[in-house]
Symmetry: C2
Subunit: 256 residues, 2 copies
DNA sequence: TTGCTCCTCACGTCACGTGAGGTGGC
DNA sequence: TTGCTCCTCACGTCACGTGAGGTGGC
């Protein structure tokens, strides 16, 4: 006939936990001695160890109560289910470990594999850190709006990057961010981009690709709300060109 | 500039969780649109993914807040600690799986290895299920009172069981539970037990062993509060024997 | 007498979940 | 107009933990 402290120590739980199990009706109340202290027997110790094992396996106390009251067959079935859940949990924790390891590395976590590879290629080509950051943010936003469109667009983009002319234009757009809006190179760049887009349309037979629809610099500028006077000017030149692939959508508000 | 629903879906959390992170100061409040809706940018998506990864690794939100605000060095150190904790947790879940598997088997969970083996030997010797149950309960209680004494006593008991005479006496005690208190075999059994105990004392040179101190049937009877008229009579006979190893402690109350 | 164990409320904590009651865009 | 998404309180949940204020045995 042991006290609550000894019982708790034996089972490896706290005294508060034992009292909590009484309150919840999981563990039967033992008789009291003359001072009102609870006095436990071996049957309580057995029950408490069972409760602890199930509780540590993450079984809700309400479920434990049911299980202890139910028949052995139901109990055995439940044990299998609990085991399966534990297995799953272990798997999830393993994944959690991998992901927090990824937090060290950083950026690869927030974009798809393809986008991460793409951003690395941009860096290798000498694209500015500022533009790479903007690309990354754009892809993150785009994926949050539509993962499917993002997947399609990145495939398109990677394909275009196979073309040295596209790479050259891209690098010029990158530099153009800092140009003055009156820079004579702007109309030349705009025309070069237009010709490339038309040529690509002919080659791929596509009615419209994501690159043609909007132009990536534009997507970046409008979706993330960052632009420069020179880029704005580039957009204006594009808008004023003869009809064709240059029918850009109305610019979203720059408020965000 | 995406809504709370899109952001939550992208990061794989609930809308309620996002709002909770705002309230707790983990995630900065984005600007509102004209309807008062929150409008998020890529930086929020990045933050939210970080928060989710840390939260799923079991890091308290208050700690996550600290980490996101702190310097990268502290962050890297914390990541290592978190990883160590996860590793530990996985190990604990693996143990939990083993233990709930043990719940199927049953009794071995609640007593030590030695006691479990001992109880199996009792069954093999033909000891009644009733007495085995009582032994088990006694060992559980004893271990909850004093694990060291329980370990010493089981070693002593296993040693005694190596002696065929002890086994014979034990089996007689077992049967005696149902005898009438006036049964003529009782004094004979008491005397046989006395002689065995004295002989053992001579052989082992021990001043007093746990078996001599109390006698196991007595421990069972008094600690678990179960006895029979014949066992009570056996105790009375032992008490009336000449001084020596038979000085038994005063019987605890039978109230429990 | 001091220290330790026990007792019973009652409220706190942690990370959200669950409505209630309402508004705004398609 | 209906359905969907968003908004802000306020309270609930789960498994205890944390005192507060007190008693009882060595």
């Amino acid at each position: 006939m042991v006290t609550i402290g000894r019982l708790a120590a034996y089972a490896g739980v706290t005294i508060k936990a034992v009292r909590h199990y009484h309150k919840r009706g999981l563990l039967s109340e033992p008789p009291r001695d003359s001072s009102g202290y609870r006095r436990y027997g071996a049957e309580h110790a057995v029950q408490l160890v069972k409760i602890r094992i199930l509780a540590e396996a993450g079984v809700p106390l309400s479920r434990i109560k049911e299980l202890l009251a139910g028949d052995p067959e139901t109990f055995a079935t439940a044990i299998s289910e609990i085991d399966a859940k534990l297995k799953k949990q272990i798997e999830e924790l393993r994944l959690a470990r991998e992901r927090i390891a990824g937090l060290r590395e950083g950026d690869r976590l927030f974009v798809s594999e393809e986008v991460a590879d793409y951003l690395e290629r941009l860096a290798a080509f000498g694209v500015s850190a500022r533009t790479i950051q903007r690309e990354r943010d754009g892809w993150i936003l785009l994926r949050s709006v539509s993962p499917e469109r993002a997947a399609g667009m990145i495939a398109d983009k990677l394909d275009a990057f196979g073309d040295p002319e596209f790479r050259a234009i891209y690098l010029d757009f990158d530099s153009a961010f800092d140009w003055s809006p009156g820079d004579p190179r702007l109309p030349i760049l705009a025309d070069r981009a237009r010709r490339w887009i038309e040529g690509r349309r002919g080659r791929t037979g596509q009615k419209s690709s994501s690159l043609v629809d909007a132009g990536f610099a534009r997507l970046m500028a409008t979706s993330y709300g960052v632009s420069s006077p020179a880029w704005d000017q580039l957009n204006r030149i594009a808008r004023d060109m003869p009809a064709g692939p240059h029918k850009l959508p109305a610019p979203p508000s720059r408020s965000g």
